[in-house]
């Protein structure tokens, strides 16, 4: 798994675990530890507090993550161009190799339908993905840190050969 996947796994695990604990307390208090003297009006009123907590948590998550979108990345002047054409059911990549440490500008086009361009390293870790749309050019800038063979999988359903739609390219030191 990549770094982002680990962040997702850990935070989902922690939040999910907390949620299960809260629910377990709820079940306990609604059965074994039942106490009929509950002030329902107070509980209903506290929904406002919960509303505030939810808004604060969402705003926090928004400001923690919105800076990490893939939009607007540029390869600058030192970039290596790498045009890739996607078609049912193949990626047509240039025959040349790429250089480590220099930004690569992937220029992605489709000959027919929507495709997804997902790049995996040699350990099968998903590095990035972007949609390829017919009639438009999608660009993704990535700087490879390690030499090796990188694999491409199609990440948008594109017809019966979809799972056969693969490709690869090489990055040299």
């Amino acid at each position: 798994m990549g770094r982002i996947a680990i962040i997702i796994a850990v935070s989902y695990g922690i939040l999910g675990g907390l949620a299960v604990l809260v629910i377990a307390v709820l079940v306990w208090s609604s059965t074994v530890g039942r106490n009929k003297q509950t002030n329902l009006h107070k509980l209903a009123d506290r929904e406002k507090t919960w509303f505030g907590i939810v808004v604060v948590m969402l705003v926090a998550l928004l400001f923690a993550t919105i800076w990490f979108t893939p939009y607007g990345n540029s390869a600058g002047t030192n970039g290596q161009r790498f045009p890739v054409k996607a078609e049912q059911f193949a990626f047509i990549v240039p025959g040349r190799t790429l250089k480590v440490g220099e930004p690569v500008r992937f220029e992605l086009t489709s000959a027919d339908v929507n495709h997804g361009f997902a790049v995996f390293d040699s350990s099968n870790v998903l590095l990035f993905q972007i949609q390829v749309i017919p009639g438009a050019t999608s660009e993704y800038v990535y700087t490879f840190k390690k030499p090796g063979t990188y694999h491409i999988l199609c990440f948008e359903y594109c017809g019966v050969g979809h799972d056969e739609m693969k490709g690869e390219f090489t990055v040299r030191g």
């Binding site: 798994m1 996947a5 999910g16 949620a19 609604s30 329902l40 998550l61 017919p134 019966v160």
Partner: protein, 666 residues
């Protein structure tokens, strides 16, 4: 802002109106369960195929996938809760009046004919464009399905869309019923009352004697939103039907994708919001108290009515071609999507605290509702991951998404549909539930195996497993096989559900009266132990997951064993100095020419480079097939062309494909 505790809702409609609602709901719900039988079996077949237990031909796999998606999501979960809406209305004193009844009838038949057409176009005519049928995929079938399949499929989806619109009309007509006792007789005032504005502005939206029952609010919200959401899709479908026969017609694919998701997001709420209405009716009943809700819940629903139709682009976060405004739209949709989660957070608060310290009845229906809430919370959290662009760039179109929505649709909305059947089938049929114990078994098996089913997809997704792959990359085979086993049990557990329904309708009773009414404290202890066990398993799985990644060094990552022809075909490294198009997949075109000549290809195909002039199959010089298609056809065959898998070695297949691609791509 003052606080209300909603009244316990009692039936107010007169007996004739109750009978109307009963007939409508029963018909919708039973038809939907029949669709579940078919789409559930398809789901298990798909899972088994991915796990290599009964591998399906790729076209067949994707055709079944298309049918399963639409069948289970709209035909079962959607259709169920659409029908339940009429019964919910009747429960809170809102009769379905004449216009509502006519549009409800229309809804039913449009849906039945639409689902029938989808079955025909996918299972009989092999349409395999997936339920999102991303434009222009239906017109690029790679020879697998014809234009009649496309036309019938698109028309059927259009009928389903129209069914949703007529349902909205009947819901809105019922929601603004005079039963509201709105002080103002104007319809738009009653509409505001139905949206719950009376809780916020009691004078402007005055009612007498009481404010609108909470279950009416989500139904009204979705009634408005689904009309807004469906009409643009209907226009796109009409264009696509025309384009099937008039190929010169054209739509911008990115616009079409936006229109699809303009519908595709709200349709999730077509399932969720009526399900919430059912929760609002049944949870207070089993907790024997009123719904614990502050006025702020109305704020949540007001946000939802707007946010629901302006969050579609979170499905296209990774579409941002140059020179298009899509990136800005996508960025704006993250905070809007977050805002939409507020209504779920508030509803979960209200429903959980309605149960809190109450005398909750842990019968089958009560348990299903409670476990539905638990799944809603969990699926909501994985949904927030999808809604966050920084995370979506990893999980997008991975099996994580599949895990997320199966938990939401099957274990939240599905549990509501099942709870409603257990709670109300006796009222609809006048017969006691056949077996409460059997129902409890079904609910618990579904929860445990359904949750495990989802967990496996979530884990596979984080490891980079793509969704909609007939054959997954080899490293996922073990997990997929575990998942397939779980899915089989999950599917088998539903036999208990159908059995219970059939026997109840037949008027049979399996259990003594003393058993009915729940197990009380004993059941609660089981719930408690199961939840803690689940937490333990989840913690262990997380630790294993993280540990297995931390300890991963380059020397140990080659353990992915190629177990299928698909993976062996790609594990060879091509010569990196090649000046030819690099995409020859490791095949040797020179050796391939010999294979082409000796294997009999010349007899059927025209290929100048081999001096072949056959006319039985496609002319390869004209078709210029891509590599993957050649590999697919040579190994799988198609129509009159046999599979050459047993006749040629894997290397010979690659060689001949390389030869065909090289000699036609110049």
């Amino acid at each position: 802002m003052s606080t209300h505790v909603a009244p316990v809702d009692e039936p107010l409609a007169d007996p004739e109106e109750m009978r109307t609602a009963k007939r409508l709901t029963l018909r919708f719900v039973l038809t939907a369960q029949a669709i579940l039988v078919v789409s559930g079996v398809l789901g298990v077949l798909l899972r088994d195929s991915q796990a290599n237990l009964g591998r399906l031909d790729p076209n067949w796999f994707y055709a079944l996938m298309t049918a399963h998606g639409l069948g289970a999501f709209v035909g079962w979960a959607g259709f169920s809760v659409m029908g339940l809406a009429y019964w919910v209305f009747a429960q809170v004193g809102f009769p379905v009046r004449k216009f509502g009844r006519v549009t409800a009838e229309l809804t039913y038949w449009l849906m039945v004919v639409g689902v029938g057409g989808i079955v025909v176009s996918t299972l009989a005519l092999h349409f395999a464009g997936s339920w999102v049928f991303l434009y222009p995929l239906p017109f690029h079938s790679a020879g697998e399905w014809g234009k009649w399949a496309t036309a019938i499929f698109l028309t059927s989806v259009l009928l389903v869309g129209l069914s949703i619109v007529t349902w909205c009309l009947s819901v809105l007509h019922t929601a603004i019923s005079p039963a509201l006792h709105a002080v103002s007789k104007k319809w738009h005032n009653r509409f505001g009352v139905a949206l719950g504005f009376g809780y916020l502005w009691p004078k402007r939206f005055a009612t007498n004697p009481k404010t609108v029952p909470y279950p009416v609010i989500p139904l009204t919200v979705i009634g408005v939103d689904m009309i807004i959401a469906t009409l643009p899709l209907a226009a796109l479908l009409v264009e696509m039907i025309v384009q099937t026969f008039v190929p010169s017609a054209h739509v911008n694919p990115l616009l079409a994708k936006n229109v699809l998701w303009w519908f595709g997001h709200p349709v999730v709420y077509l399932l969720l919001f009526p399900a919430v209405a059912v929760y609002y009716v049944l949870v207070p009943r089993y907790a024997a108290r009123k719904l614990v809700a502050g006025n702020v819940i109305t704020v949540g629903w007001t946000i939802a009515i707007i946010a629901n139709v302006v969050v579609w682009a979170h499905h296209v976060y990774l579409d941002y071609p140059v020179n298009s405004p899509q990136a800005a739209i996508d960025t704006a949709m993250q905070p809007l999507t977050f805002a939409l989660t507020i209504v779920s957070a508030l509803s979960l608060y209200s429903l959980f605290f309605t149960i809190y310290k109450s005398d909750y009845r842990w019968n089958a229906a009560g348990t299903a509702l409670f476990l539905g809430l638990v799944s809603w919370l969990s699926a909501g959290l994985s949904g927030v991951v999808n809604a966050t662009i920084a995370f979506d760039q990893i999980v997008h179109n991975s099996l994580w998404i599949v895990g997320h929505f199966h938990q939401m649709a099957l274990l939240n909305i599905g549990f509501v549909a099942m709870a409603a059947v257990y709670a109300w089938l006796p009222e609809w049929t006048g017969h006691r539930l056949y077996s409460e114990a059997m129902a409890k078994w079904q609910i618990w098996l579904t929860f445990v195996f359904g949750t495990a089913n989802t967990a496996i997809w979530l884990v596979e997704g984080l490891q980079g497993a793509p969704r909609r792959f007939a054959v997954l990359p080899g490293q996922f085979l073990t997990l997929s096989q575990v998942g397939a086993g779980i899915a089989i049990v999950l599917g088998a557990a539903q036999i208990l559900f159908f059995w219970n329904i059939v026997e109840t309708i037949r008027g049979k009773v399996a259990t003594p009266a003393s058993e009915r009414g729940g197990l009380g404290v004993a059941a609660a202890k089981i719930v408690l132990v199961a939840l803690l066990a689940l937490l333990g398993v989840a913690a262990a799985a997380s630790i294993w997951l993280v540990a297995s990644n931390v300890s991963k060094s380059p020397s140990t990552t080659t353990s992915a064993t190629p177990t299928t022809p698909a993976t062996t075909a790609t594990t060879t490294t091509p010569s990196t100095t090649s000046t030819m198009p690099a995409n020859l997949g490791g095949g040797d075109p020179v050796a391939g020419k010999a294979v082409f000549e000796s294997a009999g290809c010349k007899g059927c195909h025209t290929l100048a480079a081999a001096g072949a002039t056959g006319t039985v199959g496609p002319n390869l010089d004209q078709k210029k097939p891509p590599l993957a298609l050649v590999l697919l056809r040579v190994t799988q065959g198609k129509g009159a062309m046999p599979s050459f898998k047993s006749q040629l070695t894997p290397q010979q297949v690659k060689d001949v494909a390389a030869f065909v691609v090289q000699s036609t791509s110049g």
